[in-house]
């Protein structure tokens, strides 16, 4: 078990820089989620750590030692693939045995460790089955068992749950977390599903165009995304631009929005679920007059699109919070100052994902 760190990683595919000087630490024993839009370099980063991609510059360290020039098979990694990549011509036990045989583990020890790994993923007695005879969730568990049975130093997971349907995915998220904790291995996983990243990870890293834009515990990143891109990529966010003042943000319309204390730069991001609507002016410090452009019913929640301060804001909440409101109706938009976050504005000329 070891931590992983990468520094100054660069990888270009022709004119496209998949990794652009990326530096990041994956602490020992952590479950680290890499998140970003497609083309952000997250998969390239994972494959560079595995050794399938040779970086043009920079260093990958596993357990403090550089693994540059070390081929995949000698990096002592475990990897779970999006397609699981179970060997179809081998049984479940054969799949698990493969990595042990390659390491010349004696037969008795192999059998013991295979049983142990199958027990860990709760597939006792499935050793004799073929991958084709397993359900999606079972294949996922076998892939996990195969990756950890060799006791790798680090576990790499490439979109491990994306092939499962929704209900099973939630169940497997909990399972993955449990297995990782029990083994205590450093795990790095790539996902495009932000909810999955927030649920599973101790820490998440947001990648964009081959660079790290934000890193930290999920809650901290959620509450303080740091820049407009992260705020919008993770969940949704209403962004207000204007002139920062000591008291908050002065909008072009003249209204002053109070922000959280501390740094007062850039623009203010407010999550749709932090906002509330009321037909009359509330006595709160942050209140903007507006008009409901649309009400969208989505079962557990309702989202209102509100025209306010010259832009469209999204407000999400329980259906009961929208009772008595109708499209076209003038309303007041309000939120507690502590629920807003100062974020750096988009770099000009750069398209934002999502």
């Amino acid at each position: 078990m070891s931590g992983v760190s990468v520094s100054g990683l660069v990888k270009a595919w022709g004119p496209v820089r998949a990794l652009d000087g990326l530096t990041l630490d994956f602490p020992e024993g952590s479950f680290f989620g890499l998140l970003g839009p497609s083309g952000s370099g997250k998969t390239t980063l994972l494959r560079a750590i595995a050794g399938f991609v040779t970086p043009d510059a920079g260093t990958v360290r596993i357990g403090g030692q550089s693994v540059d020039g070390v081929p995949v098979e000698r990096r002592e990694i475990g990897m779970v693939f999006q397609s699981y990549a179970l060997f179809p011509h081998m049984t479940v036990a054969g799949n698990l045995s493969f990595g042990l045989e390659v390491r010349r583990v004696p037969a008795r020890e192999r059998a013991r460790r295979i049983d142990e790994a199958l027990a860990l993923v709760r597939l006792e007695g499935f050793g004799g089955r073929r991958p084709a005879e397993l359900s999606g969730g079972q294949r996922q568990r076998v892939a996990m068992a195969r990756a950890i049975v060799t006791r790798p130093r680090v576990l790499l997971l490439d979109e491990p749950l994306s092939a499962l349907d929704r209900g099973l995915r939630t169940e497997m998220q909990i399972e993955l977390r449990r297995i990782q904790r029990e083994v205590g291995i450093t795990a790095i996983f790539v996902t495009h599903d932000q909810e999955e990243a927030l649920t599973l990870s101790d820490r998440i890293g947001i990648l964009r165009e081959g660079r790290l834009v934000r890193e930290g515990p999920p809650r901290a990143v959620w509450d303080d995304p740091g820049d407009a891109f992260t705020a919008r990529f993770l969940g949704a966010a209403n962004l207000f631009t204007g002139t920062p003042e000591p008291g908050g943000l002065r909008l072009a319309s003249g209204a002053l929005l109070a922000g959280p204390p501390g740094r007062t730069t850039g623009c203010l991001a407010v999550r749709p679920e932090a906002m509330a609507l009321s037909p009359v002016e509330p006595g709160a410090p942050n209140a903007l007059p507006g008009r409901i452009a649309a009400l969208v019913f989505a079962g557990a929640t309702v989202t209102a699109l509100v025209e306010a301060a010259g832009q469209q804001a999204r407000v999400t909440g329980a259906p009961s919070a929208f009772e008595g409101l109708a499209e076209g109706q003038p309303v007041w938009l309000a939120w507690p100052p502590g629920r807003a976050a100062w974020v750096a504005p988009d770099r000009p000329g750069v398209a934002t994902g999502k």
Binding site: A50, V72, E73, G78, M79, S83, A85
Partner: protein, 261 residues
């Protein structure tokens, strides 16, 4: 529905076509079991022509030569053809499209032209006619088929299986031996049978490249037919077509050739 008569006449036509395709072969097989040497009816069953085959030295020698040439061709073509198919599939080789296009001429150019060209070239470099020349030519004809059959099998192979094996600590050679080759095995066996059949059934190229006197079975049959019938030719022809049909049935089974998926 107006569909029924159309569909029915279609099925009928297909049935007639099958009769057209198989009747001559079945007649030949039947005649090889007819006691009369002149295809005279009524039919009188006999296996004397088959028995006579065993005493015909020339036919036995040609049959043996055909078999070992086909074995050599199958071995060589399967080895180098599979290697080429794997390389073309695994790597973004520069000029891949051109390399694939180059497989077409050996199949598409009439064998008469290929065969005479080989004769001229081999003669020019001092190799001349004989079994080595026949093997050289047959391997070239079989290679495109081997590459096509193995490539078809490779299409179903998930390359992340190789990555998974490497992530589990296997060296590239181990990956090839334990993951890639076992998956490819049915395709490779089908390709080998195919190559064997291409060589075993090949007449035109052998005709130009074999040394008169040490010929292969099809060349011997051709010369025998032109000289005038001997009833043993019926018998040996029946055996030849049975062998080639059984081979192709095996290929079809292994490679699902021509069917869906």
């Amino acid at each position: 529905m107006s569909a029924a008569p159309l569909a029915l006449s279609g099925r009928l036509w297909l049935g007639l076509m099958l009769v057209f395709l198989y009747a001559p072969i079945l007649v030949m097989a039947a005649m090889s079991l007819n006691a009369s040497p002149f295809y005279q009816l009524p039919f009188e069953a006999s296996t004397r022509w088959y028995a006579k085959l065993w005493t015909n030295r020339e036919i036995l020698a040609a049959a043996w030569r055909s078999v070992w040439i086909a074995l050599a061709v199958a071995a060589i073509a399967t080895l180098i053809g599979s290697m080429a198919a794997i390389a073309l599939w695994r790597h973004a080789v520069p000029g891949r499209r051109l390399l694939q296009a180059l497989l077409f001429p050996p199949i598409a150019v009439p064998w008469l032209i290929t065969g005479t060209a080989m004769l001229v070239f081999f003669f020019g470099i001092g190799l001349d006619r004989g079994s080595p020349a026949v093997i050289l030519g047959h391997v070239a004809l079989a290679l495109p088929y081997v590459i096509v059959v193995v490539t078809a099998r490779l299409q179903g192979f998930d390359p992340t299986l190789e990555e998974a094996a490497r992530s589990l600590g296997a060296r590239p050679l181990t990956v090839t031996l334990r993951i890639t080759l076992p998956f490819l095995a049915p395709g490779i066996v089908a390709a080998a049978l195919f190559a064997f059949a291409v060589s075993f059934d090949q007449f035109v190229v052998s005709y130009f490249l074999a040394r008169p006197g040490d010929t292969t079975l099809p060349v011997l049959i051709y010369t025998a037919i032109r000289k005038g019938f001997t009833p043993e030719i019926n018998a040996i022809s029946t055996i030849v077509i049975l062998v080639s049909m059984v081979l192709m049935l095996l290929v079809a089974r292994l490679a699902r050739f021509g069917g869906e998926r």
